[in-house]
Symmetry: C2
Subunit: 426 residues, 2 copies
């Protein structure tokens, strides 16, 4: 039973939070192409003021937690945010797009400076600021636009500014990603809201991408951290766009406590209700991230059931979603079952009997069984094509090994993925 | 010092071997598109007699060995070949393209039937036949064209037929892959030759793709098996086109002994000379496979040095070569260093100090350092583009952890990869 309801809203929906996002000029100051265009006096290339700086703030210190990329090569923003979250308290988030502030010799100092700029503008402790960046790796972060941007942002923080914040963290995203969900905990209405950016360099095995979540629930930093890990495990950690895990991924949450519920400090029933709503929201984000993957025309959802254990189910679902050949076949609406079986076979998961694998494609246009008992079936190619021409495809895999299930989210591999990534920096 | 010389030739260069390849009609009889075209009386779609059946034979039984895909989902051809190689003896290879004979209920019986057809035609024991297939998975293998094809082939086996055999095992390959190398063992000239098919569904971690190797060296089946594993480990197992490992991969070798050297039965100096020549040939094949990867316009060679151990070096080289983002950047001649660092960071290999990583791009047009001590450098974009517009790019990564090295082979990710794989079966 669902104890939550999605509502229109985002990162400012929970009580206590305001936000906004503007064009501060980080993208312009970073791009080599822009520099070249300015030099060449070619105004056609100079971008049109895309938002690139977001500020989220609460009117009081919040309990807070975050999880990060598992990439060994990390943006210094992550080390600064980790330090700032050591005490489990934060009050604001400053985040820029256009420059990842990763692999730079002065990255740490600049990440600290970003936090201090936000803290000074808001009149709060710099240790209570979460800092994040996304964009090009290995190019110096320009601080000047962030300084002027933060000072502009502090004056326009508002309840209506969440959407601008969602827009300001976009890179190659084509749609803004924001959401809000409500549930009832301890008799009080609790709201959770968030924004996320996705698109490329997105893979399983971590809290993928940049995501900032707010809530007015009263909940300890430790329980926030647990809830992030549990919810991300079946959502963010089951999404792949291209198999690459970024240097900057940060999934952070701040809880203001304004809902007035008794503070959640252990994994009790209230925690479970909170987790259920958070997980539902994260799964929604996972689908958004996958369907807006770079160049994607289709969301792919791989459902695995009948696995020997959860690990095998997850491993297989992720392997299928990550296969370039499966992704390209889905782009071409080709009901190839060999590539699905192939991806199951090399996943590394134990499959006790490959002769018990069934594969079915499903979409709003119907469903079609293409593999039964490990063998390809003759099927109606025209029907299959019709099913696969839809923009949301379920690949349903049934094993004969046990009762475990998993779901993973991906997208098709398209000409546009190659185009976007063949020429990203310019 | 190199003790070997590449010569013009292929699978029939070693003494004792003949081969040929023809259009037997397997591709036609398999393709759903063809079936549809025939029904619709649309002769424009019916293919033009591409070769799809190859036979390689020796005039005497050979010592023989093979290594296979590690995919759990295997073509039945593999089980049949494994059974036939239990005694370390083989005399012929029959292989078709156009249909993988994988994931079929009657795959095993048909693979056995294929071997028997070849054996009967040649008048040899069916247990001395290696059988392999490549092509579409999950569609019934048509035996009739193989039966008539084998009988046609047996009459045209020749020293000149190796190139036709190389052509007959091609699927989406754009170039035939054959090679021959000579070395001197025990005072005798030893020749090794081979053919390979590649193109897609190619990944590390196994004897990737179909490859058939012949030699006139005298060498035991056990030593052949060892040499295959050792040589493949630094060649076939370091190639990735798309991260997918096939259900059918087979790398088999037959040794006639006609060179007259004292039989190699242990890992002595003669073994080392044989292995050196075999390894050089396999590395050449690895480059061929990568540069002819589906849709590829460029060969990527990733050199890693300064790693803590060989495992780390290999893991990093492979991770870089496999990154969709790196591959797309190379297609676009974009000297992005962030994606290289990112792929190093998520490879899973231990890197003791990411602040000691250097990255350099090199081609026949020059070289350019883009990352030093883990940080992106400002570099001449025009020079970098010129270097990356060549069709063979080296990505040279230097770590500061130790003295181990590795080399991996890949290709760029292009529109054509998507095109080829978006519509493979039709």
């Amino acid at each position: 039973m669902n104890n939550y309801t999605f509502i229109n809203g985002g990162v400012t929906s929970p009580q206590g939070f305001t936000a906004n996002g503007i064009c501060a000029g980080v993208k312009q100051a970073t791009s080599a192409a822009i520099t070249k265009a300015i030099k060449a006096n070619d105004s056609s290339v100079i971008p049109n003021g895309k938002r690139d700086l977001a500020l989220i703030a609460c009117d009081k210190p919040c309990s807070a937690a975050a999880i990060f990329t598992k990439n060994l090569v990390k943006s210094d923003t992550i080390y600064v945010t980790q330090k700032h979250l050591e005490n489990g308290v934060a009050q604001a988030v400053i985040v820029n797009s256009g420059n990842a502030n990763a692999c730079n010799p002065d990255g740490y100092e600049k990440a600290e400076a970003m936090a201090k700029l936000a803290a000074d503008a808001l009149g709060i402790d710099e240790n209570d600021v979460i800092v994040a960046s996304t964009g090009v790796i290995g190019q110096p972060l320009p601080l000047a636009p962030i300084e002027s941007g933060v000072n502009a942002l502090k004056d326009i923080l508002s309840k209506d500014g969440g959407t601008n914040a969602a827009e300001a963290i976009m890179t190659t995203d084509t749609v803004k990603k924001e959401w809000a969900v409500q549930t009832v905990i301890d008799g009080k209405t609790v709201t959770i809201g968030g924004i996320a950016k996705g698109s490329g360099m997105i893979h399983i095995n971590m809290g993928t991408t940049l995501s900032f979540v707010t809530t007015d629930a009263a909940i300890s930093a430790q329980m926030l951290h647990s809830a992030l890990i549990e919810a991300a495990d079946v959502s963010y950690n089951m999404v792949s766009v291209d198999g690459d895990t970024s240097t900057n991924d940060t999934l952070a949450i701040l809880a203001s406590g304004y809902a007035g519920n008794a503070e959640i400090t252990e994994k009790n029933e209230d925690y479970k209700i909170f987790l259920q709503a958070l997980t539902a929201a994260f799964k929604k984000v996972a689908r958004l991230l996958a369907s807006d993957g770079e160049g994607a025309t289709k969301l792919l959802v791989c459902n695995v059931s009948g696995a020997a254990d959860e690990k095998a189910a997850k491993t297989i679902a992720k392997s299928v979603i990550c296969s370039s050949l499966v992704k390209a076949a889905m782009f071409g609406a080709d009901a190839n079952c060999g590539r699905i079986l192939c991806a199951i076979g090399y996943s590394g998961a134990q499959v006790n009997d490959v002769k018990k694998i069934d594969v079915l494609y499903k979409s709003s246009a119907g469903e079609i069984l293409v593999c039964q008992n490990g063998c390809g079936l003759a099927f109606d190619e025209e029907k299959a094509e019709k099913i696969l021409l839809e923009n949301e495809i379920e690949i349903i895999i049934t094993l004969g090994d046990g009762a475990s299930t998993a779901e993973a989210y991906g997208c098709d591999l398209t000409y546009d993925y190659v185009k976007i990534n063949g020429d990203y920096r310019t």
